[in-house]
Each structure stands twice: as C-alpha cells, then as structure tokens.
C-alpha cells in the first residue's frame, strides 16, 4: 500500500514536470500565433523572440501561458493531448481504419510475437546444445556473449532490403529482426539456467542412475525456469524494439514504426507521442503477461517466490 502511494507520487511528479516543461517548449509557437492573430507580443519580431530564449519569453508574456497546453502542433504536447489522441485513435476509430492505433499495433504485435517465438525456440535449442556438448560450449558460447555487446540492430535495414530483393516481404523480415534480437538474451539466460542445479542435485540424480535425458527433463529444465523467464522478459521487449525499427526502412506502411516515421515527416508530434505511448503500453502488457505466466508456472512447480 505504501509502495503504491510512493509510485503514485513519483508518477504524479513526472507528469507535473511534463506539464511545466510544456511552457518553455511551446511558448514561442504560441507567441508567433498570437502575433499573427493581432495580439501585442513582447518583443515584437520573430527574430528578437528567437534570440531572447524561452525563459525570457515566458517572463515577458505571462498572458500566453494558458495557451501552451492546447497548441495544435506543439513541440511538446501536454499529457492530456496525448491521452485524448490515444483515446480517439484506439477506442473511437474503427479497428480496420488506417488511423487506428489498434490496427497499427496489431501489425507490430504480430511481427513481434512471431519473431519472439522463432528467437526463443532457436535460443532454447542452442542453449540445450551448449549445455550438453562441450565443443558447442567452447566454440559458440563466447560468441553468443560477445554478440550481446554489439548493436546488432544496425543489421535491420539490410535484412529488410535483402529479403525484399529475394522476394520475401511483409511480416517475415520484421519477425526475423525481432527474432535475432531476442535470440541471444535467451541463449545466455537459458544456459545459465540449465547449469543452475548444483553438484549435490546432479550427484543425486546420478545415484538414481538417471540418464542424460531424465536429468534434463527432471532437473535441468525445471530449475532453469526462473532464468528463462528473466531473459524472456528482456527478449520480448527487445523483439518489440526490433519490430518497430524493422518498420522504419520499408518506407513505413503500417505499424508503430510507420506511425513514428510518418509523424516525424509531417511534424505531427501528438501522433508520435501517442504511437510511442501505445508501444510502451504494449511492451508493458507483454512483459506483465509473461510475469503472470511465470508466477502461475512457478506456483504449479511448487517454487515459492
């Protein structure tokens, strides 16, 4: 309960800072519009206003402050503008409409989930191989660790274009980018998890004369679950980033990445912010969903958390 109150305070603080930041960010646009509408603005010319700086403008023209939160195309939209845009583009628009964020979200989500499934599946397979084969452990594992320090997302535009040139387009290229972003965290986490049983437990299974497969299914796999879920949560967030970035170079047809790009081309800041928040909400939902599955699974397994 106390935690809840603290979280609420912090969130309220962030929103408060956001509202305050709107004043210096938007004041120049408001004053330019006011001058065009015939109001007396201090200083009078746009050039003098640019030189004065945002804070000076606020002090000189306090009458305009009320308008900074309701500009049409602001540099920094106020939280309620973003919230209204989110509401209008998710709830009030039809899902099939090209302007509905649900439609764009579903495009990004399908690429994310497909890529996440591919990446996680391959990652778990590779981890199993690494744990059971000394050669793979010694030759592949160092590369898997090094690959975590590399911004592999730089490959994204190339994958899109190469796959396009051999005739693959649509969902799959984005899913591949999402897959390889989630692949390496899963490999590293899963190897750690499959190795987590200590000597006592491994020895116990040996005294039961359990073979490798039994050791895997009855000891290694169950004890790897907490590690697996920790890396799955990282992996799905990475997949979503991959899917969004994968939408950028294709010229932006649909998806959150397309909304971001189109918004930045046409200066539609409210649209960018709402796409950003929609992506954030989606990421939070996916991670929370994994958290629920984890809790359920661990409880069924009898792990007390």
């Amino acid at each position: 309960m106390k935690t809840f109150l603290s979280v609420l305070t912090v969130v309220a603080g962030i929103i408060g800072i956001w509202y305050l930041a709107c004043v210096p960010m938007n004041i120049k646009g408001v004053l330019d519009a006011a001058e065009r509408a015939g109001a007396v603005v201090e200083p009078a010319t746009p050039k003098a206003r640019r030189d004065l700086g945002a804070m000076g403008l606020v002090v000189n023209n306090s009458f305009a402050i009320a308008d900074v939160w309701s500009v049409d195309r602001p540099r920094l939209p106020a939280p309620h503008q973003v919230a209204i845009e989110l509401w209008e583009t998710t709830v009030e628009k039809k899902i099939t409409s090209k302007r509905s964020l649900i439609y764009h979200g579903q495009v990004t989500l399908s690429a994310t989930l497909l890529g996440f499934a591919i990446g996680t599946g391959l990652g778990i397979l590779l981890a199993v191989g690494i744990v059971h084969s000394k050669v793979m452990d010694m030759s592949v594992m160092p590369w898997a660790i090094v690959s975590q320090t590399i911004p592999i997302i730089a490959l994204a535009p190339m994958i899109i274009v190469v796959l396009y040139s051999i005739g693959v387009q649509g969902l799959l290229p984005k899913a591949i980018i999402a897959a390889y972003l989630s692949f390496f965290p899963v490999v590293v986490g899963m190897v750690k998890g499959l190795r987590s049983p200590d000597h006592m437990q491994v020895d116990l299974l040996k005294t039961y004369s359990a073979n490798t497969a039994q050791g895997f299914w009855k000891l290694r796999l169950p004890s790897s679950m907490p590690y697996l879920f920790a890396s799955l949560k990282i992996g799905i967030a990475a997949s979503l980033v991959g899917a969004i970035v994968g939408e950028l170079p294709t010229g932006a047809v649909a998806g959150f990445g397309a909304r971001l790009l189109a918004g930045s081309y046409y200066g539609q800041t409210v649209q960018i912010w709402s796409a950003l928040f929609a992506a954030a909400i989606l990421a939070a939902l996916l991670v929370a969903l994994l958290g629920l599955v984890e809790r359920f699974l661990l409880r069924r397994m009898g792990v007390t958390t």
């Binding site: 050669v135 030759s139 800041t269 950003l276």
Partner: protein, 283 residues
C-alpha cells in the same frame, strides 16, 4: 560446386579439430579456451567466403568476407568520420551525460525512502519500454547533428542506470550502517566510505548494460535524420544504393566499437571493484 564441397569439408574439419581440443586433456587451459572459439570463427568466415563464391551469390544479397575486408580497408577515412560522429560524439557524449545524471538523481532519491520505493518500480517499468522510439521527437528538438543522438542515448540509459544505482546504494546492511553510526560518520563520510563502494558492482552492471544501449540509440536515431555523416546514415543510404559491402563494413565497425567499449568498462570494473567476489574468483 567444388567450392561448396570444399566449404563442407572445412566445416567438418574445423568441427573435428574443435571436438578433439574440447575433449582433449588440455581443454581447461587458457590457450585452448581462446583457440576453440577462434577456430570456430575462422571456420565460419571460410565457409561464408566459399559458399558465396561457390554458389555465386550476388553482391546485393550477401558480400563475401574478402569483399567486406577490401571495402573496409579502402574506405577507412569515411569509416573513421562516421565513427567519430556516431560513437565518439553521439554515443559517448550521451553516455557520459546520461550516467552522470542518473547517478546524481540516484544519490538524491536515495535520501528519501518514500521516493526510492516509488521510483524503483517506475524505473524498472520504463527500462523495459521501447525508449528508442523517442528518437524522432528528440531529432525534431535538437536538430540533425550529434546533439539529438546524445539526447536519445541519455533518455535510453537514464532509467536502467538509475535503477541499478538506487538498488546498489541500498545494498548495505544494518550492521554496516550501525558501525558507521558508532564512528559518528557524517552522511557524506558514510556515503563515500561505505555506501558508494558497496554500490559500485551495481553501478558497473548498469554501465555495462548502457554501453550497448548507447550504441543502439546513437545508430537508430540517425535513421530519423542526420547530417551526411554517421554510421546510421551510412547504413541506411548504403542499403538504398545496394552497396552491401559498405553496410557490412559499418557493422564491423559497430561490432568492434561495441566490444571495445564494453571491454573498457569491464576493465575499469576490475580496477575499481577488485575486492568483489565475482572479480576475485577470476584471478
């Protein structure tokens, strides 16, 4: 066709050598531990080269490693300019600013239990979000040059860094804090002598996570607009010209820069947290 068969032979040969080495008597020596991944990497490159040549894969789909190396060597000035713009100015500038801001915020937040309790869940939540999406907004605010890239990096690494530092600063236990109290240590004395050293492993964990994030942020932000220099710019324009050897050369630069950056931070970690169990066991 001969080259393809040769590639298969090399693959099997490399694997066989590694198999012998890994299961041999000297498998645990440091030399073999380095040799095995090196052989694997070289085998992979050789197979790539031979397959591309043997199957006559066009350049626009996958250039051979030798082509990439030639392009890398012949365009060093361009690559260096891109490296300076993206890594040294954008990523490193943002990294320093973001880490300083996050550590200072963490120190302030740590004084209030109420704030810390609220900030940790929020920070963890934000750290999982696709922050890189703020890139178009920040490019709009700070222009096309490296300042906007540094801003993206700051936003990306702030919360992971903050969460790690805050978690580290609360790592001390009651006994240690009581001991400081009995010494009549002031807040800053106990901060410098007790809580900061205890937090260092956590801070370095955050710093290491942030290295990769910084590079990702700086490169992706350039996809949204940049001057005519920079790694992200070069990648996106070279992809447009189907000059994939240039793209791969940039990826090599990114990989080298990423590993070097990470290695540097790890080195500092070893120097500053030599007392920590995770560092001692390695020696």
């Amino acid at each position: 066709m001969g080259l393809v068969i040769f590639a298969a032979v090399i693959w099997v040969g490399g694997w066989w050598v590694n198999h012998k080495l890994a299961n041999g008597p000297r498998a645990e020596t440091a030399f073999v531990r380095l040799l095995v991944p090196a052989i694997f990497g070289v085998t992979l490159l050789a197979v790539w080269e031979l397959l591309v040549r043997g199957l006559e894969v066009p350049l626009v789909i996958l250039p051979a490693p030798s082509q990439i190396a030639v392009r890398f060597a012949s365009s060093l000035p361009v690559l260096w300019a891109d490296f300076t713009q993206t890594i040294l100015k954008g990523a490193l500038g943002g990294y320093v600013m973001g880490c300083l801001a996050a550590v200072c915020t963490a120190v302030l937040v740590d004084r209030s239990d109420f704030l810390r309790r609220g900030l940790l869940p929020v920070g963890n939540f934000v750290a999982a979000l696709p922050i890189v999406g703020t890139a178009p907004i920040l490019v709009m605010w700070y222009g096309f040059d490296w300042q906007s890239k540094a801003a993206v990096v700051v936003v990306m690494i702030f919360f992971p860094m903050l969460v790690n530092t805050v978690a580290g600063l609360r790592e001390t236990n009651d006994m240690q804090r009581d001991l400081m109290q009995t010494y009549a240590a002031s807040y800053w004395q106990s901060f410098v002598k007790l809580r900061l050293p205890v937090a260092l492993p956590f801070i370095f964990n955050g710093l290491k996570i942030s290295t990769t994030l910084a590079l990702i942020g700086a490169i992706v932000a350039e996809f949204f607009g940049s001057p005519t220099v920079g790694m992200g710019f070069r990648i996106s324009t070279s992809v447009g010209q189907l000059a994939l050897d240039m793209v791969w050369a940039e990826i090599v630069v990114a990989a080298l820069a990423g590993s070097a950056f990470y290695g540097l931070v790890s080195m500092f970690e070893r120097i500053f947290t030599f007392w920590h169990p995770s560092q001692r066991s390695r020696a």
